[in-house]
């Protein structure tokens, strides 16, 4: 047996979550005395996985899988798991991998636990800690099936380099017509912008900005930091910003390294959505804003005064670093 991971790639390049998943799998494999196999789909050069402890790669290259099709990809992962006799199958928490996980679990008759944070609490019985109640609590879940599927929460483990001797093997699973019941017609991606899902830093703003015309400085701050932009629910409800930017309990979850909240008071639903972020900075003119209770660093001040000066400070800092 080995541990199988699905190492997700886009346009022939691995996503950062693939390396995080490999790092995590390696650590679990060490404690179980086993190895890590990764399955990749049209990933191009896979050698980078050897930095993160992957022992073997099953490379799937198939034009039919050029676009993401959940059922077909789930079928590939299932067949890879069966080939490797994997008892533990690990996936990340990108939108695509979340889509896949439950299909893979049913196909393998495996118990499935999502939103896993940290290494297993115990391997016998097999117990993991996971986020629940919209990040307001954790729950320890025991999986009792022979094969287990875990979905690792984004940015919950980090990257750990462990060099390994990687063997590569071409893998040609059988994919049938029935795998393509859902066909992709078109994909729209906002180009030239960092997405909230991929960002290490997110700059977010709320009603304190007073109107959509004032977002220029938020965009600029995000550009300086290489960050994604986000907003609070009222701002997206008012149509000041696109819905795709709404973060919080009913919007997008944010699990980033640095979250900067500007003019956001910090409603409980907003905090729940962003609480997996590592470091939180709040800038708000109201010292009583609830966000100050959950933030790491706070500035009580007027965004229109603070943000432009902060942009200049970050610019200077970036210049010194380069």
């Amino acid at each position: 047996m080995s541990i199988l991971i699905y190492a997700e790639s886009a346009e022939g390049k691995f996503k950062k979550v693939a390396f995080e998943l490999a790092s995590y799998a390696k650590k679990v494999a060490e404690s179980l005395g086993t190895t890590v196999t990764a399955v990749t789909v049209n990933a191009g050069d896979v050698s980078e996985l050897s930095k993160y402890g992957v022992d073997k790669v099953l490379k799937v290259n198939n034009d039919k899988l050029a676009g993401f099709t959940a059922k077909a990809y789930a079928d590939v992962i299932k067949q890879a798991a069966q080939k490797e006799n994997a008892k533990l199958v690990l996936l990340s928490s990108t939108t695509d991998s979340i889509y896949l996980s439950s299909l893979v679990a049913v196909a393998l008759e495996a118990g499935f636990t999502s939103n896993v944070v940290g290494l297993p609490v115990s391997t016998s019985p097999f117990q993991v800690r996971r986020n629940a109640f919209s990040n307001k609590a954790f729950n320890i879940t025991e999986i009792s099936t022979d094969v287990k599927v875990l979905g690792l929460a984004k940015n919950s483990y980090g990257l750990v380099e462990t060099a390994s001797a990687l063997t590569e093997e071409d893998f040609d699973p059988s994919i049938g017509e029935s795998d393509f019941g859902v066909k992709v017609e078109s994909v729209e991606k906002v180009s030239g912008k960092v997405s909230i899902a991929d960002a290490d830093i997110v700059v977010s703003a709320g009603r304190g900005l007073k109107g959509p015309e004032n977002w220029g400085m938020i965009e600029e701050l995000a550009t300086v930091l290489g960050a994604a932009t986000a907003c609070s629910k009222p701002v997206s409800d008012l149509g000041w910003r696109p819905h795709g930017e709404h973060v919080g309990q009913t919007g997008k979850p944010v699990a980033t390294n640095l979250y900067i909240a500007i003019g956001i008071s910090g409603a409980i639903q907003h905090i729940a959505g962003i609480s997996s972020s590592k470091v939180k900075v709040v800038i708000n003119s109201d010292p009583e804003a609830p966000f100050f209770k959950v933030a790491d660093y706070g500035i009580v001040g007027d965004a229109f005064d603070v943000v432009p000066r902060l942009i200049e400070k970050f610019k200077t800092f970036k210049e010194q670093q380069s």
């Binding site: 939108t95 889509y99 999986i143 899902a197």
Partner: protein, 248 residues
């Protein structure tokens, strides 16, 4: 078109989250329950299909008698009938197995479930139902139209969206976007009165394996107090983010 909307009965988003019995159970004391928000967007879209395309809308839930007010609320919003599978929703696969049985027996064309519930956040039930039944499945669905058996749907992807085509029977994992917040309906008095006489059928669960079990809950450790930085000393913030937090 026969539509089934799967309804989770969850604590209101503002609820205080506490645990009892040695942190093994959620403390329901004083907690208000609501229709899971992701399910409510789906229910509202289903009612649109009912009003515009003559669909019938059934709502179903897996839970004890305490979840019936949530089903009645869905009926008051406009669903035609409700089904409650009389069982404790122990894990995602158990719930999916029960709902798959309801779907098989009812012959539904379109099944709308929220992409995840706001209590356990498992995000697995819609996909598992699809896998059990072998039906088409679109997750993180933000728009759907149906003409005959042809379906066009939009799925949220990281950094954008994707338009897909598929056919009924179909399961979707729905979310905001199916309808907007402003389209959500607050039941009126007439709806509430009518809901009382609509059918709420109770069915007993079918056998299903217990694959996973929540054994314990924990609350996050208390946070240390925020470090306040003067707006006149922004260099300090840069220094802290670089040297202390090491995030820039």
């Amino acid at each position: 078109m026969k539509i089934l909307v799967c309804i989770s009965h969850v604590p209101d988003t503002t609820s205080k989250i506490n645990f009892v019995n040695g942190d093994s159970e959620f403390d329901t004391n004083g907690v208000q329950y609501v229709i899971n928000p992701n399910d409510e967007f789906g229910l509202t879209r289903a009612i649109w299909f009912q009003e515009q395309q003559g669909a019938t809308v059934t709502v179903a839930n897996v839970g004890g008698p305490e979840t019936e007010p949530t089903l009645r609320k869905a009926l008051a919003i406009g669903a035609n009938e409700a089904i409650r599978v009389n069982a404790n929703p122990t894990d995602g696969f158990f719930v999916a197995t029960q709902l798959a049985e309801v779907i098989k027996n009812g012959g539904y064309d379109l099944v709308i479930a929220g992409k995840e519930s706001l209590d356990y956040n498992g995000g697995m039930v819609p996909g598992m139902i699809a896998a059990i039944l072998g039906n088409n499945f679109v997750n993180s669905c933000t728009a759907i139209t149906v003409e005959g058996t042809a379906v066009k749907a939009v799925r949220e992807i990281d950094g954008g969206k994707e338009t897909v085509s598929t056919t009924l029977p179909l399961i979707i994992g729905g979310q905001k976007g199916l309808v907007e917040e402003k389209d959500l309906r607050i039941p009126n008095m007439r709806g509430i009165m009518t809901a009382r006489s609509k059918a709420l059928t109770i069915v007993e669960p079918v056998a299903a394996p217990v694959n996973t079990k929540a054994v314990k809950f924990e609350k996050p450790a208390a946070k240390s107090a925020v470090k306040l930085i003067s707006p006149d000393n922004l260099d300090e913030l840069i220094d802290l983010l670089h040297n202390e937090a090491k995030v820039i």
